[in-house]
Structure formats: structure tokens, C-alpha cells
């Protein structure tokens, strides 16, 4: 029965991976930017929350409500000020800029917070759980994370399919020049896409921080999970990303059940297998 529990835990973890990967997928889908600083941004959000909790003594949920919109704003500005300039110089330039950003962020965090490993204390909420049946117990944090991730993904999907601006995001992803012919200012559209990406990565970063420990240099190893979720699911598809996150989560969870040392390796192997045998991802196509 431990296996069934492992699957449930994997699905819940997969929700977090999907939330974390959404921003990466969105920025690539709309602007063809591979954001190598994606993982570090999540870590920045973790440290920011840590500093806010320590500095102001505000409850964790208030910090969360503050951090996420702040990151959205930061995302919009980053796109308009930093990334937009590099877009004109081609894909290699944006890759270098985000790579540079990743290094800068890591070193700034190291300078301010030192290399110590930290955790964000979620209190009883983070460790508590309830029994679903005899063998399956579900953590409050895992479930909340999963529900939150699902709600965010549904929200983004509704935004993309129901609103004029969301439609223009998808249209720009198909053909940016023609989107300009519709009257879309690509700088603004790209800014919105990056704002959504930053907001989701901040939320994911906070969830990671409550779940497990973090330090300034952990960003790149987190980034791998996002890449894997995106590639397994299929590039540019929001539901594909959710599926990819689930597959990765379940794989890690099941292999941990067999042998904890295998956890990460098994995830990487599934990723490699998808790349080798189904490079377009499990859900091919570009719906978002």
C-alpha cells in the first residue's frame, strides 16, 4: 500500500513542479526566451519571504500575498528594461543575459544572506497531515500547494483564452509581427507574459521554501525540474506542463519508495527517455 501513497504524494508534488515550470514555458512560448535565471528567481522569492518574516514578523500568508504581486511588477520591469533590449540582438543574447542574471542573483544572495542553508518556517501547517485512508496520508502543505497550483494554472488558462490581452499573448507566440499589425505593442505584451512568469515562479519558490531547505546556489538544480516538466509535457502547452510536472513528481516519488538514492536519477532518466523517443513531449501541440 506504500506504493499507492507514493503515487498520491507524486501527484501532489507534480502540481508544484507544474506551477514552477509554467513561467519557463510561458516565457519561451511567447518570447522564445530561455530563462536560465528561472530557478534563481524562485530562490530570491524564498529569501525575500525569509527576510520579510524575520524583519516584520508578519504572518507567512501576508508575506506570500505581498511577494507574488511584487514579483509580477519586477517581471514586467525586467522585461521592459533588461530583456527587451537583448531580444533585438537574437536568441543567443537573451540566453547570455539570463545566464548573467542567474549568476548575479546567486552572488547577491550569497553576499546578503551567506551560504547557510535556510528554511521558511511554516509552523504546524507545514508538517501536519490527515489520513485519507489507512495507508494514505496527505500533508496540508502538499494539498494546499497542489490546489493553489491548479487554481493558478486554470486562471492563466482562462486569461489566455477569454481575454483580449491573453489572446494577444497567444497570437504573439504564433507570429509576433502580425500581432503588431493588430495593434499590439509587443513590449507591453512581453512585459505581461514575464509578469505572469515571475509571479508564478515566486509562488513556487515560496512553496519550495516551506517544503524543503534552500541556499543561494540551489537555483540551477531547481531549474532542471522546470526544464524536465516542460520538455516531458510538450513545449508551449500549459496542460502539457501540468502533465509533465505530474510525471516527474510520480517518477521521483515512486523511485524514492524503492530506493531514496534513486529519486533524482529516475526523474532525469524519464526526461531523457522522453527526449529520445518522443521529443515533441507527451502532449504535443501548442494550445497556450
Amino acid at each position: 500500500m506504500g506504493w499507492l501513497n507514493a503515487v498520491v504524494q507524486g501527484i501532489l508534488l507534480g502540481g508544484l513542479y507544474a506551477l514552477f515550470a509554467t513561467g519557463l514555458s510561458l516565457m519561451f512560448g511567447v518570447m522564445r526566451i530561455v530563462n536560465l535565471a528561472h530557478g534563481d528567481l524562485a530562490v530570491v522569492a524564498s529569501f525575500l519571504a525569509l527576510a520579510l518574516v524575520g524583519g516584520t514578523g508578519l504572518p507567512l500568508w501576508v508575506v506570500l500575498v505581498v511577494t507574488v504581486p511584487l514579483f509580477a511588477l519586477l517581471g514586467y520591469l525586467t522585461q521592459r528594461v533588461l530583456l527587451q533590449r537583448s531580444l533585438a540582438a537574437g536568441p543567443l543574447a537573451t540566453l547570455l543575459v539570463t545566464f548573467g542574471l542567474s549568476i548575479v542573483l546567486q552572488n547577491v544572495l550569497l553576499e546578503i544572506f551567506s551560504a547557510d542553508t535556510r528554511t521558511l518556517d511554516g509552523g504546524a501547517f507545514a508538517t501536519g497531515s490527515f489520513e485519507l485512508s489507512g495507508a494514505i496520508s496527505v500533508g496540508y502543505l502538499s494539498l494546499t500547494t497542489f490546489v493553489l497550483a491548479g487554481a493558478v494554472l486554470i486562471g492563466i488558462q482562462l486569461f489566455l483564452s477569454r481575454t483580449g490581452l491573453g489572446r494577444m499573448l497567444r497570437a504573439s507566440s504564433d507570429d509576433a509581427e502580425t500581432a503588431r499589425l493588430m495593434g499590439a505593442d509587443s513590449r507591453h505584451v512581453y512585459g505581461i507574459a514575464t509578469a505572469i512568469a515571475f509571479a508564478t515562479v515566486a509562488l513556487a519558490g515560496l512553496m519550495f521554501a516551506i517544503r524543503s531547505s534552500f541556499d543561494p546556489s540551489i537555483g540551477p538544480s531547481r531549474l532542471i525540474f522546470a526544464f524536465e516538466a516542460v520538455v516531458i509535457g510538450g513545449l508551449g502547452s500549459l496542460w502539457g506542463t501540468l502533465l509533465g510536472g505530474m510525471v516527474l513528481g510520480i517518477t521521483q516519488s515512486l523511485s524514492a519508495q524503492a530506493d531514496p538514492a534513486l529519486t533524482l536519477l529516475a526523474g532525469h532518466l524519464v526526461f531523457l527517455a522522453v527526449l529520445a523517443f518522443r521529443p515533441q513531449g507527451l502532449l504535443a501541440g501548442r494550445t497556450a
Binding site: G164, R167, M168, R170, A171, S173, D174, D175, E177, T178, A179, R180, L181, M182, G183, A184, D185, S186, R286, T287
Partner: protein, 243 residues
Amino acid sequence: MTLLSIRDLTVHHGQLRAVDALSLEVRQGEVLAIIGANGAGKSTLLRALAGLILPTSGTIGFAGRDITRLPAHRRVSAGIALVPEGRRLFRSLTVEENLLAGGYRRRPGPWTLGAVQALFPWMAERRGQNAAQLSGGEQQAVAIGRALLANPDLLLIDELSLGLAPVIVRRIYEALPEIVGAGTTALIVEQDVSQAMRVADRVHCLLEGRSVLHGRPGDLTAEQVEHAYFGLDARPAGQEGHD
């Protein structure tokens, strides 16, 4: 009244001087067709009018305002919409979403989703279909509908007939009088000369980026048009051939 006035416009396409000191005017409510062979600079001219390429020199005046340097996305609000060459529908969007994308700027005017669907009735039934699954003629109609939803004062259409069967082209052109009747001025670029002569109030023939012949279709002889189109070294009556 003059809606669009182009003065000494020179536009480069890479190294090539695609439009060469061109001047022309489009009057409110007319259909002006620009004809010319491949590489005559027709598409480059339209792209410059839509703001996708900045001209090297010269001015573009629109509704009494200089728009030469206005970025493409602001020209939509000013009242210019382009149906680009090759249709360029958003392929992951449905028919209806493509149309709605055209109305992104919410410029007021007669064209609504319902009005476009009345013009091309099949679009209502197939609104949920993916744009990539449409035939070439249907895609062209959606591209025109999408541009109409921007409620432009000036509609630019680039190579409507390209890659389409003549019967399909004729059917799409049948919608043109209704479009112009709603108050839109049309500037069309067309390789199919006979089609252009049939629908236009006036035509300009471009050769190597210059206007070598212009007039009302009824006043031009087939021979004049042929000479201008191919740049034959002859002197058509009424208008000097260039060089």
C-alpha cells in the same frame, strides 16, 4: 478628399531600393489597385504603410497627419489595417479568436464580429475551428475579416489572389463593394491585372519601385498596361514610361 498621401517615398528592402521616390495619393472612399510584376516593390510599399519597415526618405501623410515614423501598433489606432501577404493567420487560434484579435484596439466603427460573419456567413458555423485547418480561400477571408474588425479607415490588402483559384478570388472580391460601402477606403496590391482592373477605381502600375502608369481602368488600354507592367521600352500615350 485625400486620405493617404505619399511623397517621394524611398524604402529599402535590405540593400535593394524597393520603392524609389514614389508619390501617390489615395482619396477617401475609393479602391486603388497597385499592380506590377514580382519585385516591383508593391509589398514593400504596403509594409512601409503599415509601419513594419521604416522608409529611408520621404513622407507618409494619413488623414492630415504625418505618420512616417509612427510604430506599426499605433497605426492601427490611427485607422490603418493590413491584410498581409500569405494571410498570416494565428495558427493556434480558432477562426473566431483570429477575428477577435483584429479588434484588439477596440476602434469604434461599423465592423463587429456579427457584421463580418454576415459578410462571410460560413464563419459563424465554423467559429471554433482551428485557423490552420482552413483552405487557402477561407484563410484569406478570415484575414480580411480580422483586418476589418480593426475598423480601419484605410484597408491595405497584399496579394489577395496569391495561391488561390480564380473562382475563389472572384468570390472574395465580391465582398469588396460592401466593405467600401461601409466607409472604408481600400488600397490593394494585386498581381492579377485583370482582377485589379475589374474592382479598382484607379490603378497604379509599379516598375522597379516607381509608378510608371496610372489612371482609371476604363481609360487605360491593354497595350499600355502591358508595356508598363513589363517595362517594355515603349512610350505609352498619356503617361511617360520611366527611363
